[in-house]
């Protein structure tokens, strides 16, 4: 793809795959039960982009400042399998940023009731490990990762506990204390246009990016990326689009 061609198209409100500027690729869908050994797992597909998220539960000690709360740990690994741009080795900046955006979307929306993840105050809590793996990077990993994460969290069943030890493989009927489902929508600015769901070619020419995690009528987390600045007006417009797209993405989760 030629970068100039992409830019020319966007100037004329058009995109290389024939989409409108504010249109997600199709399909947007979720498949659950990716790994039987996870307490919950899901694959999110947006167009050709595919991300797997899996949840493992483990036991731990609470942080001293929150003795009656469990917690989450989000990790993402950009598998070299998913793109010729990714390399093996310890997580780089992009992987760490991705994990932190997802972490804050869950944490700040209070989607999980951390208090209910406490088993014994000051001593024993549930640790929720959220691991995110892109399988095919065709753009917009952030939204796909967020979608896979909430879908996987929704699937989780607690494993059996016996004398404060986990019996993996034996699941109870209890679900995670998930009180709501935050949705993340990433908006990008290319030239003076705002787009949703950039594909990998469009990501090469992005000027600025804003990821917005929303739930109900609240904004719970934001992350700006890219070099160029955004005006108040643009931020305002981006928030409106995020709320509009929330409904659409939420449908995929049911």
């Amino acid at each position: 793809m030629s970068e100039n061609y992409i830019l020319d198209l966007i100037k004329q409100d058009s995109r290389i795959d024939g989409r409108k500027l504010k249109e997600f690729r199709k399909p947007v869908k979720i498949e659950t039960g990716i790994s039987k050994n996870a307490e919950g797992s899901a694959k999110a597909t947006i167009g050709e982009t595919e991300v797997i998220a899996g949840i493992k539960l483990s036991l731990g000690e609470p942080y001293p400042d929150n003795p009656d709360e469990g917690t989450i740990m989000v990790t993402s690994e950009l598998l070299p399998m998913a793109s010729e741009e990714f390399e093996s080795g310890p997580p780089g900046k992009q992987a760490i940023e991705l994990a932190r955006i997802i972490d804050r979307g869950i944490r700040e929306s209070k989607a999980l009731d951390f208090k209910k993840l406490c088993i014994k105050k000051g001593e024993l809590i549930w640790l929720v490990f959220i691991d995110i793996y892109p399988i095919n990077d065709a753009g917009n990993l952030i939204d796909a990762s967020a979608l896979a994460t909430v879908a996987a969290l929704k699937e989780v069943k607690f494993p059996k506990l016996e004398k404060n030890k986990i019996k993996y493989g034996e699941l109870t009927k209890d679900k995670l204390p998930l009180t709501k489902i935050p949705i993340t929508c990433t908006l990008v600015k290319i030239g003076d246009k705002i787009l949703v769901d950039p594909n990998s070619e469009e990501e090469q020419v992005i000027d600025a990016r804003l990821s917005v995690a929303v739930c109900g009528n609240k904004i719970n987390a934001m992350q700006k990326g890219g070099i160029e600045g955004l005006s108040f007006k643009e931020i305002d417009e981006m928030m409106d689009i995020a709320f509009e797209k929330e409904k659409e993405l939420r449908k995929a989760i049911q």
Partner: protein, 228 residues
């Protein structure tokens, strides 16, 4: 007497035995191993008399001297330009091999700059895969504007069609300028709608390259889409 173990147009996998006997000859991606002829790649069989030819259906473009290809300028050095030609190796377009007269200490970006798209011909390939290009010759030039899409190199003949019939039809019905490189890169220039239609048609050829009545199907698609 040998025995042939596959049919014409059969899909075979690497390692598959295609024939036994010295009276058969391997062609394309087939090779001889003692009495046997074996497939070395995933591909389509073409049997012509005693020659069993294997046409690879996948894989990166394998450069050949004389091929006219579409490249992208990715770097410059003392000798000229480094060109990405969509194979496993970068190629070199030396300052002596371009139509223009270039002084040694000239700013090379005056002629070809980063990300420029060029139609070039392969003039030389060494054992260690150093590839030389030229832009001297008819039709060889820089392409300005337009868009590039990539198709599997083995499907290029289908995109072009017999004596160029397929590509001529697409050009005519979409009013686009189109250049097809042997390396599977296709350059399309036209208005937005028509570029998308031409892209759609080429993608369909790539997907359904060996199905019957392909020309009619593409014609139908073009008629339907251009009328919208």
């Amino acid at each position: 007497m040998g025995e042939i173990k596959v049919k014409d147009k059969e899909i075979v996998v690497p390692g598959q035995e295609l024939a036994t006997g010295m009276d058969f000859l391997p062609g394309g991606a087939a090779f001889r191993e003692g009495e046997k002829i074996i497939a070395s790649q995933l591909g389509l069989i073409s049997v012509r008399g005693k020659v069993i030819r294997l046409i690879p259906l996948t894989g990166k473009y394998v450069p050949k001297v004389g091929d006219i290809i579409i490249g992208r300028i990715i770097d410059m050095n003392f000798n000229g330009w480094v060109v990405d030609i969509g194979c496993s190796y970068d190629a070199v377009l030396s300052i002596r091999s371009v139509q223009e007269y270039v002084e040694r200490d000239d700013d090379l970006t005056k002629y070809y700059s980063f990300n420029d798209i060029v139609v070039t011909k392969i003039t030389k390939i060494t054992r260690s895969k150093l590839i030389d290009l030229t832009t001297k010759g008819p039709g060889l030039m820089k392409l300005v504007g337009g868009n590039i899409i990539e198709v599997t190199p083995s499907k290029v003949p289908r995109v072009i069609g017999k004596q160029g019939s397929m590509i001529d039809m697409i050009k005519k019905m979409t009013n686009c300028r189109i250049t097809v490189g042997q390396n599977g890169r296709v350059w399309i220039q036209g208005d937005i709608k028509n570029t998308l239609i031409a892209t759609k048609a080429i993608r369909k050829i790539e997907r359904e390259s060996h199905t019957p009545g392909l020309t009619d199907k593409i014609k139908e698609l073009l008629e339907k889409e251009t009328k919208k």
